[in-house]
């Protein structure tokens, strides 16, 4: 089972490819807070869809719809695997 820290790290790792490590980490923190009202250190696997939904507008703005969906799908796959 993945820890909360590992879940946040996987999400940040995938976004860091595009956003850089610092902004990716801050984005996970900001949007986890926005979606769940909790920090990234509390993330559970069943929180991932809600955080992904919160991240979607940000990613769509910066990388467009197609790449946004690829990133979110890879995050989901990586966390399931």
């Amino acid at each position: 089972m993945r820890t909360s820290r590992a879940i946040a790290e996987v999400m940040a790792e995938h976004m860091a490819v595009y956003l850089g490590p610092h902004t990716a980490r801050v984005a996970v923190k900001t949007f986890a807070q926005k979606a769940l009202g909790r920090g990234p250190e509390t993330l559970r696997l069943d929180d991932v869809p809600a955080v992904s939904r919160a991240l979607r507008p940000m990613l769509r703005t910066l990388v467009g719809r197609t790449t946004c969906e690829v990133i979110l799908e890879q995050i989901s796959r990586d966390l399931e695997g």
């Binding site: 996987v10 790792e13 995938h14 860091a16 490819v17 595009y18 956003l19 850089g20 490590p21 610092h22 902004t23 990716a24 801050v26 984005a27 900001t30 949007f31 507008p57 940000m58 990613l59 769509r60 703005t61 910066l62 990388v63 467009g64 719809r65 197609t66 790449t67 690829v70 990133i71 890879q74 796959r77 990586d78 695997g81």
Partner: protein, 270 residues
């Protein structure tokens, strides 16, 4: 590679220019260079825009940049076809030229504005404190006003004297002031995204805007230290770099979106 390409272009341009003996041949080479680099700028922006899907925020921004280059190329094509006092669609050529430059500059300003505020639309954070960021944007605005003030005042004076052709200069001046001010947020976004692929389009666009700033600075103050031909050559170098880096930024933007996303094991290794 993309960061170096515009410098190589300028190097080749200078080599070819120095190898040509006659003034006429140099003028033709210069015209060919100016139009080619604008065409490359257009291609780069089209490549960037078409990498996004319809409705994507940055597709519109890059599309507006492409519109700017496209209209400037059209203006130049019309200039080659018509003498400056000829009429076009029943209108004086100068008025048509002014309208094209006005719309082109409007497109570039709105496109740059959209790219400059993408961080805000996306909801990511920029580096440095709010005060420091404000200082940087204010500094860029003050610098752009200082550089373009004399040209803007001269164009206003010409316009008030009934010279419609001054509208071309005025449209360009206003576009330059706004675009140069936006240099600061574009640079801050590039810094926020450092370490990621997206830093490249923003960094290369910053280089393009900075080259436009130097192009205008040369136009305003170049005569203080350079001969007329030296000032013209310097201006062409900055213009080539500005258009070249716009091309590079567009290609980088396309690369960001078309390069496959690495799979999980590759991410661990990175």
């Amino acid at each position: 590679m993309l960061a170096v390409a515009p410098l190589v272009w300028v190097g080749v341009f200078l080599l070819v220019g120095s190898a040509l003996a006659s003034e006429g041949a140099r003028a033709i080479a210069l015209r060919a260079e100016v139009e080619s680099i604008k065409a490359l700028g257009f291609v780069g922006c089209v490549l960037a825009a078409s990498a996004f899907e319809r409705g994507d925020y940055l597709r519109r921004a890059w599309g507006l940049h492409a519109l700017c280059f496209g209209l400037l190329l059209l203006r130049d094509a019309l200039f080659l076809l018509f003498v400056s006092d000829a009429k076009l669609f029943g209108l004086p050529y100068a008025a048509v030229q002014a309208a094209l430059v006005l719309v082109a500059n409007g497109g570039a300003v709105i496109g740059t504005f959209m790219i400059a505020r993408a961080w805000q639309v996306a909801g990511i954070e920029l580096p440095f404190s709010r005060l420091m960021r404000g200082g940087l944007i204010g500094g860029a605005a003050a610098l752009s006003l200082a550089i373009t003030a004399s040209a803007t005042l001269a164009d206003l004076e010409r316009l008030s004297g009934g010279d419609v052709g001054a509208l071309v200069g005025l449209a360009s001046d206003l576009g330059d002031i706004l675009s140069m001010t936006l240099l600061a947020p574009v640079l801050l976004t590039a810094l926020a995204l450092r370490g990621g692929r997206l830093t490249w389009p923003w960094a290369l666009l910053t280089a393009s805007l900075f080259a436009w700033l130097l192009y205008d600075a040369n136009a305003a103050f170049g005569h203080l230290t350079l001969s007329a031909s030296g000032q013209r050559l310097t201006g062409e170098i900055w213009r080539a770099l500005a258009c070249g880096y716009a091309f590079a930024a567009g290609v980088a933007q396309r690369w960001v979106l078309t390069e496959p996303h690495p799979k999980a094991p590759a991410l661990r290794a990175a």
